[in-house]
């Protein structure tokens, strides 16, 4: 439940960020761009529809598949979700800083040309992107795999979204106390841990399908300290990839993952070269 809330929260904040910047620009009386607002809201609606469509397609696809085919599909989806998270973190690291400026300059262009379809497409894409990522993550976390979704899960989604609205509002309000930079830095680390959790869960499925060997069945047993079969332990397992009874392969992949992330972070940390306009 906690993971569902976190994912919905973080993805919604990202989508709200795009909508928020565009809305602030369009609604600013100095720009005389109020005519663009309906296009903005149409883009929002379109993006939400696209995300819901993808979610429904995922659930429908699962119902068609039977037995082991479903296991293979779900394994693939968990691994895709893990890769998507990592890709998203590094995309935001690269583009987060210039996102606002880029959007405003493209808005200015739209404004000068008097067309607002660009706004619609921009917003629809942003929401569809975040929304469909949300759908894939939620699916990876078991959402909808039983053909129906328990009430408590919907509640988690709703709470996550409300939290996102509150966060967005706080960050808009108190730019001095909270900073977007800090928000993204903290949630980045949490997302990388979540991606590690999904990777380990995908690996467990691959081992269970006998596509990957365990190497050593059980390296150690830390269930006395933190039992991954307990409610708290299973939450930690999902969020970090923790295992109380790790196999050799679990540990190997986990260490390799963090070495790879460390290398990527180090590379992303060095300032990117300025691309000169042609």
């Amino acid at each position: 439940m906690g993971q569902v809330m976190f994912i919905v929260w973080r993805e919604s904040v990202e989508a709200l960020l795009v909508v928020g910047i565009l809305h602030a620009w369009l609604a600013n009386p100095d720009h005389g761009a109020k005519r663009g607002l309906p296009y903005l809201w149409a883009g929002v609606a379109l993006g939400i529809a696209a995300a819901i469509g993808l979610g429904a397609a995922l659930v429908g696809f699962t119902e068609v598949l039977s037995g082991d085919a479903q296991d293979y599909f779900q394994t693939a989806m968990v691994l895709v979700a893990s890769v998507l998270i990592v890709q998203m973190v590094f995309w935001m690291k690269r583009n987060g800083r210039t996102l606002k400026r880029d959007m405003e300059s493209s808005l200015q262009k739209n404004h000068d040309q008097g067309t607002w379809w660009g706004v619609l497409v921009l917003v629809a894409l942003a929401i569809a992107r975040e929304g469909s990522e949300t759908a894939i993550f939620l699916y990876g976390l078991g959402f909808g795999q039983g053909g129906s979704v328990p009430m408590s899960m919907w509640l988690a989604v709703a709470i996550g979204f409300v939290l996102a609205l509150v966060t967005f509002w706080l960050l808009q309000l108190g730019g001095k106390i909270f900073s977007w930079r800090l928000f993204f830095r903290v949630t980045e680390i949490m997302l990388l841990f979540l991606a590690a959790g999904l990777l380990e869960s995908g690996l467990d499925r691959l081992i269970s399908l006998e596509l990957v060997p365990t190497l050593v069945d059980q390296l150690w047993d830390t269930s006395a300290i933190l039992d991954d079969a307990s409610p708290f332990g299973s939450l930690v397992a999902t969020l970090t990839g923790y295992r109380a009874h790790p196999s050799g392969m679990n540990l190997l992949v986990y260490v390799a993952y963090w070495l790879f992330m460390w290398a990527l972070l180090k590379r992303a940390g060095t300032p990117a070269k300025q691309v000169k306009p042609a």
Binding site: L65, S66, G67, D68, A69, D71, Y72, F73, G142, Q145, G146, G147, S148, V149, P150, S152, S201, D204, R205, I207, S208, L209, E210, D217, S223, D227, D228, A229, S230, P231, S234, A237, R243, A244, H245, S247
Partner: protein, 107 residues
């Protein structure tokens, strides 16, 4: 794409056949209640656990220790095949109703 789906079904069929004549144990999951919550199985043998969701909520049979996850809609049934186990106790739980904790005992 079609080829992938066909291959997946073929793979699925292959392991279905493999799972046919294994020692089989029945587990009912009903809105957070497990019946039985303790399953005794022979050690050193592949076994099959048939999971029936007799409740009105979705359930998820999960054991990180056994590396199994299976989500079942209300009324659905499925099975998990478990690789030969060392003697000992292996925990499982319903990830959608976490008070439901069970154990598989291999002897």
């Amino acid at each position: 794409m079609t080829a992938v789906v066909v291959t997946l079904f073929a793979l699925g069929g292959a392991s279905l056949a493999r799972a046919d004549d294994l020692p089989t144990f029945r587990l009912e999951m009903n809105n957070g209640k497990l019946n039985p919550a303790r399953i005794e199985v022979p050690a050193g043998k592949r076994i099959k656990i048939e999971v029936h969701n007799t409740g009105t909520n979705a359930v998820e049979f999960e054991s990180l220790q056994l590396r199994k996850e299976k989500v079942l809609a209300p009324g659905a049934q499925s099975f998990v095949v478990i690789a030969p186990l060392q003697p000992g106790e292996y925990k499982f739980f319903d990830d959608f109703h976490q008070q439901a904790q069970g154990v598989i005992v291999a002897k």
